[in-house]
Subunit: 407 residues, 2 copies
Amino acid sequence: MEFGPKMIPLPKGFTVAGVRCGLKNKRNDLGLIVSESPATAAGVFTTNNVRAACVDYSREAVAAGTLRAIVVNSGNANCCNGEQGVRDTARMAELTGQELNIDAKSIAVGSTGVIGHLLDMSKVEKGIKEASTKLGVDARAFMDAILTTDLIEKWAWTTPGNSEVVSPQSLAQRPFTAGEDALMIGFAKGSGMIAPNMATMLGYVITDLDVTGLDISRILKRVADQSFNCVTVDGDTSTNDMLIVMANGASGKVATEEVFEAALKAVCVSLAKQIARDGEGATKLVEIRVTGTSDPKKIARTIGESPLVKTAMFGCDPNWGRILMAAGRAGVPFKTTDVRLVLSAGDEEHVLFEDNAPASFDAKRVSSSLKSDHVLIDLNLGEGETATVYTCDFGYGYVRINAEYHT
Amino acid sequence: MEFGPKMIPLPKGFTVAGVRCGLKNKRNDLGLIVSESPATAAGVFTTNNVRAACVDYSREAVAAGTLRAIVVNSGNANCCNGEQGVRDTARMAELTGQELNIDAKSIAVGSTGVIGHLLDMSKVEKGIKEASTKLGVDARAFMDAILTTDLIEKWAWTTPGNSEVVSPQSLAQRPFTAGEDALMIGFAKGSGMIAPNMATMLGYVITDLDVTGLDISRILKRVADQSFNCVTVDGDTSTNDMLIVMANGASGKVATEEVFEAALKAVCVSLAKQIARDGEGATKLVEIRVTGTSDPKKIARTIGESPLVKTAMFGCDPNWGRILMAAGRAGVPFKTTDVRLVLSAGDEEHVLFEDNAPASFDAKRVSSSLKSDHVLIDLNLGEGETATVYTCDFGYGYVRINAEYHT
């Protein structure tokens, strides 16, 4: 079967729905993912000390090892709402369980949107009832229901064992042919680690692989560390972040740890890049790769969070001094004599600093190449491991979105 | 004697100069501070792993315990220039020593400006010669020589033992009368922890107090932790930061530790606030006061560096959800049930969150009060110590300055 840009497949035994219940203007705001049988499940959640009620609820649901469904709303994060917020989250699971005739404890709950406003539960109840009657294969309706300030939908799928990942970007280039294989697909939203007052990165990955015998929690944690945890838009960690994977075995195909982890990593890295590229006000994806030292990830993250580096990328300025400054303040020792800094953008590669001195480069040409929508900052600090962080540039759009939004 | 806005006094036994040697356009770019006798000295320096040569040179000069002079240039940070940079810094001290007939090792060197370009030493040499012939009491000429993207000059002085600090802001309100007392004055520059590609926070404090018997290094470190180290504009730590104090005893007044420390703290806190208020693109000073938890300063700093909080302040939006989100991600445990958040701006004080729930407040009125040029975010998280951080808001101006500047 051939998939074009408009078609998004679902793994066997899963249905989804997305409806509009009135929490958000003009767009869907309540979504459901349902597995016909209990799916082995795992999750990773925000480490923010200020957490939405749904994070605690879902963590407990996932801890049981299987899930039947995920219910998620956008337009309201249900965070910092005290005891009433806790009750409302439980009520969302309860209502969903009643409609689907499944145990409320087998349902994860997600919320994303503004902090500190109580959920309008009459709208939520109406939405859950309607979504339950509309379960089907319309993944686009579901995706629309989880977005907030996102400009583009974010999904990625693969047929496990196949190294190719299909995403909106790849499908725009060419169609993709898949057989009756098992399938893994991930949906994500997030336009910052936190979007403008509308919290949250959400990620849901579902597959019909049979993961019997695998410790998918451990695998998910490893994969999250190499994908979503490598994204930074503004360094601000949301109160509602969650990433959940469900595997229901409906394809009958038993996954090895290698196949499952490779597929999960491919899907999550694709989603992570999609989130960075769609960062608030972003004009480009900036990939930061650091090699060497005792903690290359800390250095990569410090560079990726530096407003001075990010504004330079927005301005297409090959300002290597800011990159070295940010690396230097990360608190990880290295010698400037070991530094080699290479910038790749478009089809060009430019050495900016090596041998303890600025390299000679054509600043105008480098600046011109930085107009590309994907820039790679490659900083080599000696022997050792490599860490990659995904971020975006930082321009007027970010200020506009975040300063002109009013609570 | 009465001091109006245009007059800046110097302590006895100090002379200064500022001249234009051509490193910067149209403004002074080379400055000198000279003490007629060896002054007891102490310094604190950037912790950035990528450091300018002048930082290492000055640290060593200060370690000897006394200084005769400080030579500083703007327009070029002389950073990341390898061995040539190290030689040029030493040459600046050597030339100054020759002109003033003092030991080059008794001279601290400061540089601020663009990273990664060699100093034009013929210009620097000319500047040092000229400045040496112009030593006098024109503090304004000196200050002009150390500024980069700063919009306003930053200085603060006090007569030790007197709690009043005189700054450009206070003098604009009323003149100040001082007698023939000992004097302490500080000069600073810095429009970000790092200014746009023109590195650096510089601070120089000079006094004619006699500090015999005092450990001024220890005192300076304590004071820096409560003043300059509480400033964050963009979280980016410069490669050239330095704060040096010189006390030459010319007033004959012997200082107790209490008097010296109180005066130094008053001057440094005033300068720190002046730097935050003049942050790149800033429209207001934002003071963040956090009480309670095991590390209130870490929480205050995380709030102060959050782009979402800073854009909300720019937009005059009382977006308390972002403040709690930032506090929560600082990695310091607290309970949301203990949170009390108060915003003060203009003459008004508004409780935004308490008793584990949003307080009821008039959002329009709070927003209107946020138009003030000084906002205090007061976050109480329970019993314990209080820490204060000084920052500014974050608007289009920051992006303009940092994205449109080209190397």
